[in-house]
């Protein structure tokens, strides 16, 4: 539940004969499900679900079905609409259109309570447990205690929990305090909590995102024990490897639409990657690249001659993330002047930490970071900025801006202490206003007034304020972290054009984006990051999804392939 659905891709009309299309003309995935079915009626079908948040369509006419005894993988990038679809099923969101059938009966799921009474349970990515309570207390919460006693009868519950635990290989101590358990164990508690309520359908949202490899293996064997016992499981993920390993069937979502549903046994990771990311990508991107480039004067050769010196150089950088886990492992990378280097990778593979290291917001364990020849390790964020860094942060709402502040106040966040924005003691209101007017007109910020708190502005306009502030700095290096996330197509294009302009003026740009399309579109070189390491660096001309996809999943490309 992290990002505000990325804008629907324009080129998502994949037409591949091997996959059942789910356009309205052919609504239900017609591929019969055969493996181990007793009945051919699906336990669950969702027909034509459409769900939208403000302007963003999170689900667009989505068809999805689930048979008894299958693990159905729901695959897609961040913002593809997976979690939204399942939240609709779980009664958390109300869809604009569409019907849900459970065991052939049309149902109206208004709340998670409805869902549970229909035999549907969901294990969220972030667990909903009370850390100070025991496992048993967490599991029976909300249920009626058997008998007439006013006291909780936990003995009975514990017995049942142990039974379930044995049956499905979910090792757990019912008396343990949840706060003392590891993440993997807490997940088991969540699963048992679901099973305890006699459910038929279990939804797992990114269940492996916080697990160690060993815990992951254990989870998968539990899942297969559960489907053998007759349950059906929906497995939400963006990791190809897991889908191949755990599921029987896969539905791929992209930009809120179903791209296809396919039997896992009949597909490969590469094919799934194509579906997930978009097949006709390379071609159409080249086109838009040209379109964007059309407005820019400098020729590539001019850029190449300018781009010799490294403006950013990371050497063997190690760093921890917020929870003390190794986030960057021996990472080395360079960005030269007048070049955009795109970092491709699945979310949470060290991108945030990389940006924070370069901007001085995170401590480095070992290694060196040079910006324009100066080692910035140990410098404060302010010093690094003064040395020549502009930084478009990942989270523009909570990091890039102070929402309670006006445009003018936000624009001087990084330079409040310098002339002409302030004198010896006081801020210079006049100059702040003049600067705000300048940025608002240069960056086409649409606002009813300059004094309004920026919280009332739209995402695109907020990003323009951040851009306006950062790009108006004296800088040699620009870090852009998910700069177009959550923006509509027009705003996204505007931001990308700004990146090109920066490059052409000789600035080195480090672009971190979860949107592979964007990386391929904008970058001159592409570095693939996985588990805190750079897996490979490609020139844009030689990079494509086939090469990058597996690296993003941690697979080293076979040299012979």
């Amino acid at each position: 539940m992290s990002d505000a659905g990325s804008p629907p891709l324009s080129n998502s009309n994949v037409d591949h004969p091997a996959y059942t299309s789910s356009s309205p003309s052919n609504p239900k995935p017609s591929q019969p499900f055969s493996a181990g079915t007793q009945d051919d009626q699906p336990v669950l079908s969702m027909n034509g679900i459409t769900c939208r948040f403000n302007e963003v369509i999170a689900n667009n006419d989505v068809y999805f079905d689930l048979f008894r005894g299958e693990i159905h993988g729901l695959l897609g990038e961040n913002g593809a609409g997976k979690t939204t679809l399942m939240s609709v099923l779980y009664g958390l969101y109300k869809p604009e259109a569409g019907e849900i059938f459970v065991k052939g009966k049309r149902v109206d799921v208004k709340s998670p309570l409805d869902a549970i009474s229909l035999g549907i349970a969901m294990v969220h990515q972030h667990f909903l447990l009370t850390p100070s309570h025991t496992v048993t207390e967490n599991i029976i919460v909300g249920l009626k205690s058997p008998g007439r006693s006013i006291f909780l009868n936990t003995a009975e519950a514990e017995k049942r929990i142990l039974e379930l635990s044995r049956k499905y290989g979910l090792k757990i101590d019912p008396k343990a305090i949840v706060g003392d358990l590891s993440v993997g164990e807490q997940q088991r508690v969540e699963i048992i909590k679901a099973l305890y309520r006699d459910i038929d359908i279990l939804i797992l949202d990114e269940p492996t995102s916080m697990l160690t490899p060993v815990e992951e293996k254990a989870l998968f064997s539990t899942l297969s024990a559960m489907v053998k016992a007759g349950l059906s499981i929906i497995f939400i993920t963006h990791k190809l490897k897991e889908v191949i390993e755990a599921s029987t069937r896969v539905t791929v979502l992209r930009g809120g639409k179903v791209i296809g549903t396919v039997m896992t046994a009949q597909t490969t990771e590469t094919e799934l990657a194509k579906l997930m990311i978009g097949r006709s990508l390379t071609q159409s991107l080249a086109q838009s690249q040209e379109e964007i480039q059309a407005g820019i004067q400098k020729s590539p050769s001019e850029r190449a001659s300018a781009g010799l010196a490294n403006v950013l150089e990371l050497k063997n950088v190690f760093a921890l993330n917020n929870s003390g886990v190794q986030a960057l492992k021996d990472l080395s990378l360079t960005v030269s002047k007048g070049e955009i280097v795109g970092i491709a990778g699945v979310d949470g593979n060290g991108q945030s930490e990389l940006a924070e290291i370069v901007s001085g917001l995170r401590k480095i364990q070992s290694g060196q970071v040079f910006i324009d020849g100066r080692n910035i390790v140990g410098m404060s964020p302010k010093q690094i900025r003064q040395w020549g860094l502009a930084y478009i942060p990942e989270d523009r709402l909570n990091t890039g801006l102070i929402l309670e502040y006006s445009i003018a106040e936000n624009l001087i966040l990084d330079r409040w202490y310098t002339r002409p924005y302030s004198g010896k003691i006081f801020l210079n209101k006049h100059e702040m206003k003049r600067f705000a007017e300048e940025i608002v007109s240069n960056f086409d910020v649409r606002t009813p007034s300059l004094d309004i708190q920026v919280r009332y502005l739209s995402g695109g306009n907020l990003q323009k304020i951040v851009l306006g502030r950062e790009l108006s700095r004296e800088h040699k290096l620009l870090i852009a972290h998910n700069p177009t996330r959550g923006l509509d197509v027009g705003a996204a294009e505007y931001v990308r054009k700004q990146l090109f302009k920066q490059r052409d003026s000789g600035v080195g740009v480090l672009l971190l984006s979860l949107d592979l399309d964007e990386i391929l579109l904008v970058s001159d070189r592409i570095a693939v990051i996985y588990a805190g390491r750079v897996m490979g660096v490609f020139d844009r001309t030689t990079a494509d999804v086939e090469k990058i996809g597996p690296l993003m999943g941690g697979y080293v490309v076979d040299a012979n392939a």
């Binding site: 539940m1 992290s2 990002d3 505000a4 659905g5 948040f53 403000n54 302007e55 963003v56 999170a58 961040n78 913002g79 593809a80 609409g81 997976k82 979690t83 939204t84 901007s359 917001l361 404060s380 964020p381 302010k382 900025r385 003064q386 930084y391 942060p393 989270d395 709402l397 909570n398 990091t399 890039g400 801006l401 102070i402 929402l403 309670e404 502040y405 106040e409 001087i412 966040l413 990084d414 409040w416 202490y417 302030s422 003691i425 006081f426 801020l427 209101k429 649409r446 009813p448 309004i452 919280r455 009332y456 502005l457 739209s458 995402g459 695109g460 306009n461 907020l462 959550g486 509509d488």
Partner: protein, 372 residues
């Protein structure tokens, strides 16, 4: 609470709500008085007369205003930066101690300068005492709420210990020796108790007002509003938290020194009847800005002074003043919730309508509802 109105900005329903709330508080207070067998109108008339009826009464009210105002400012500065300093009372006592140590020392005999030293010592002691929770917060992430609350007891008991032992003046009562007359704040109006602390308080309010217009104030405020944005923008979080708490504690300490040099002229256990606690309410009702705090502090001083005359004449317990304070707080907070929940919708609608009138694209009002 009424600053926007006074500054001549657009008058709207939002600005009337606090007054309606205050009115309701007095209405409910009246019902309580009536139930206790007192004529509410007579009681309220006495309240006004007792606090504003004579020169002497006004002077007494102003003396109370001084303490409420400076402590209110102290808390408001911290609250504005989202630092929940509930320890103004303790800081006030430490400030009084600092003032005393100067006031009874040799330096306390130098005319004119000595009183300034007393005040500076008060500020320094209060600031240093408030740095304890600040350092704990910065270094160990300890919540400043708990530490400041508990340090109140530490300060009060420490002062109590000193007054019963090390700095006790000869005699039965736990009083310190008097400070030298040179260290006392001069009386402004003869035959009243109104002392020059009023000028100090006014200076403090002006200081806080201009603090938020200064560079350092912008940094402190930004860090308070959003640590991650401030850090990203290059602001120094540790420094800001320490400075904010030092200013807050310094002002509270100043109150202690003013009480010492202006009213008591010696340190006693009850030098503050809980000004540091009432300050929390004053800061909240004053919307954390200097002008608002001035108004609320004066209003509360009227309540406190008036309730004393209500007690003397009608036998209404002084605690009724506290009841009224609490009622005002409760009603104003309810009014605030009301404005926050019901009015923003209308405001937003107006803004969007404006946007559309301008013929410009209206986006989603920020990305609050997150998808996926």
């Amino acid at each position: 609470m009424t600053t926007t109105l006074i500054l001549g900005k657009r008058l709207s329903f939002k600005h009337i709500v606090p007054f309606l709330s205050g009115g309701l508080a007095f209405l409910v207070g009246g019902i309580i008085l009536y139930a206790a067998g007192v004529d509410p109108l007579e009681a309220y008339a006495l309240l006004i007369k007792g606090s504003l009826g004579t020169t002497r009464a006004i002077a007494d009210t102003l003396v109370k205003t001084i303490s409420l105002l400076i402590t209110g400012l102290a808390v408001a500065v911290a609250f504005k930066c989202k630092l929940w300093n509930i320890g103004a009372e303790g800081q006030l006592y430490m400030g009084a101690l600092g003032g005393l140590l100067v006031g009874i020392a040799v330096v306390g005999m130098i005319p004119v300068v000595s009183v300034i030293f007393v005040l500076i010592a008060g500020i320094a002691f209060g600031a240093m005492f408030s740095l304890v929770p600040a350092v704990l917060k910065v270094k160990l992430g300890v919540s400043e709420i708990i530490v400041t609350v508990l340090l109140n007891f530490v300060a009060l008991l420490f002062i109590s210990y000193l007054l019963h032992g090390p700095i006790k003046a000869p005699g039965f009562l736990p009083y310190s020796p008097d400070i030298f007359p040179e260290s006392e704040l001069p009386i402004l109006v003869e035959h009243t108790r109104l002392h020059a602390g009023l000028i100090i308080a006014a200076l403090a309010a002006i200081f806080v007002h201009f603090l938020w217009k200064s560079k350092i104030g912008f940094e402190l405020k930004s860090v308070g509003m959003n640590i991650s944005a401030a850090r990203y923008a290059g602001m120094n979080i540790t420094k800001s938290i320490l400075i904010t708490m030092a200013i807050s504690g310094g002002l509270a300490g100043l109150t202690g020194a003013v009480l010492l040099a202006g009213v008591q002229h010696r340190l006693i256990e009850g030098i503050s009847p809980g000004y540091g606690f009432i300050a929390v309410i004053i800061a909240l009702l004053g919307r954390e800005n200097a002008l608002g705090v001035c108004l609320v502090a004066f209003f509360f001083a009227v309540l406190l002074a008036g309730s004393e005359s209500m007690y003397r004449t009608l036998g209404i317990p002084v605690a009724f003043a506290q009841t009224l304070q609490a009622l005002v707080l409760v009603f104003v907070l309810i009014g605030e919730v009301f404005t926050r929940i019901h009015l923003p919708k209308r405001i937003k609608r107006v803004d969007e309508a404006k946007l559309e009138n301008l013929g410009k694209q209206v986006g989603a009002p920020a990305e609050r509802g997150k998808v996926e």
